[in-house]
Symmetry: C2
Subunit: 223 residues, 2 copies
Amino acid sequence: MSEYRPPILTIDGIIFQLIDGQLCVLLLQRQNIPFKGQWALPGGYNPEGETTMQALTRVLRVKTGIDTKRLGLIEQLYTFDSVGRDPRGHAVSVSYMGLCYGLSPLGGKTTENPQFFPVSNLPKLAYDHPDIIKYAHERLRSKLAYTNAVFALLPSQFTFPQLQSAYEAVLGHELDKRNFRKRFTELDLIVPTGEFLREGAHRPAKLYCFKHQSLQSLPRNFD
Amino acid sequence: MSEYRPPILTIDGIIFQLIDGQLCVLLLQRQNIPFKGQWALPGGYNPEGETTMQALTRVLRVKTGIDTKRLGLIEQLYTFDSVGRDPRGHAVSVSYMGLCYGLSPLGGKTTENPQFFPVSNLPKLAYDHPDIIKYAHERLRSKLAYTNAVFALLPSQFTFPQLQSAYEAVLGHELDKRNFRKRFTELDLIVPTGEFLREGAHRPAKLYCFKHQSLQSLPRNFD
DNA sequence: ACAAAAGTGTTAAGAATACACCCATGT
DNA sequence: ACATGGGTGTATTCTTAACACTTTTGT
């Protein structure tokens, strides 16, 4: 087993965020071949001695200025390993899905122009990244349906309309306002903070916060 | 990037089968250090140029005599990558869950004594394999709840009591016979073959087969 | 005739869906 | 006073859950 040679190991991050009621994903513009100039998911090499999670943290920090601690939720998605997926050679990519809120401006001294794009309107993408994003969106949809994962897409205080609009953006269809409020209230996941959000010429909205900022599964599904 | 060194890449298979109404998992007894003599999931190295699925197929064939074509369903589970999980060095393992029926005797000229063990009564296991099996069982449970995955645990012809018992073995609790039959019948996944299974001093059971032997998700959940 | 597992329907409780008006604010 | 989005309840349909006896066979 001494002449054993492993494939290259890489990681990719699919970082979702809601912007203007739209589900968006973080992309950057490649500065090198292959796919120079094209948009791609943030990703990079995973060397020996580093876990995939550590590699992801490093890559996100260096290439996008995002600290993984600012992701409200992060979980391993899938490992993509088609031999031909990277033109440079056999590369196995462990992908992670992350959810965040309010990271739009993207500090960091990066050269790769990181930006969030609406998943409904993506630019031409490098590698098999369109498939990976589709897969991640699918996973996110079901995650939202049977867990409290929305918390990671919202600010610490939020209104019921914001909460509902987060669900609608991810699920891709509208929900009935009264039924949504009734069901979500019964789940007993959120409490009113006592404050209100005033914005515009209309009734202010009650602010709520989640009781727990950790993932838990729900007894019944949203869809 | 020329001095980049990847971790070792390995694959592991979690192969489930029902035996005597119990959910069982395939293990083999290690002949080499580390963990010499202990039971472990079938697994092995994934060299450059081979997909994880190809590596799994090769390893299962060589170590257990099982052809992956005889698995009714196989899907990627998770990638385990704690740096300390293999005492020989940093090894990242892509795991696959497989479901099969009737592979008990295990042909093949193997030296590692492959055997199926009930998940409720496992021997001492090497590595982090107890965690991996727990994770796989959890996934299987939810897979059975919202897809037609049972087909992969049953013979091509089966009775309603066998079908129900497969669910009970995986879910770990009993189901109401009449409700189960009603709901499963409504799903319209199976058709009577016209034959009967006679075994013992009681009424023979109608045999059914699945309309499709491919994974599809169900509108409503079993649990 | 008896033991053993297969097969079959109904009812009641709970969950999901559809639906329309009043409320609080800024201009 | 009016435009804007926030907030609220009920009736109907569908789904789930609980439950007991008859049928067919082998011995």
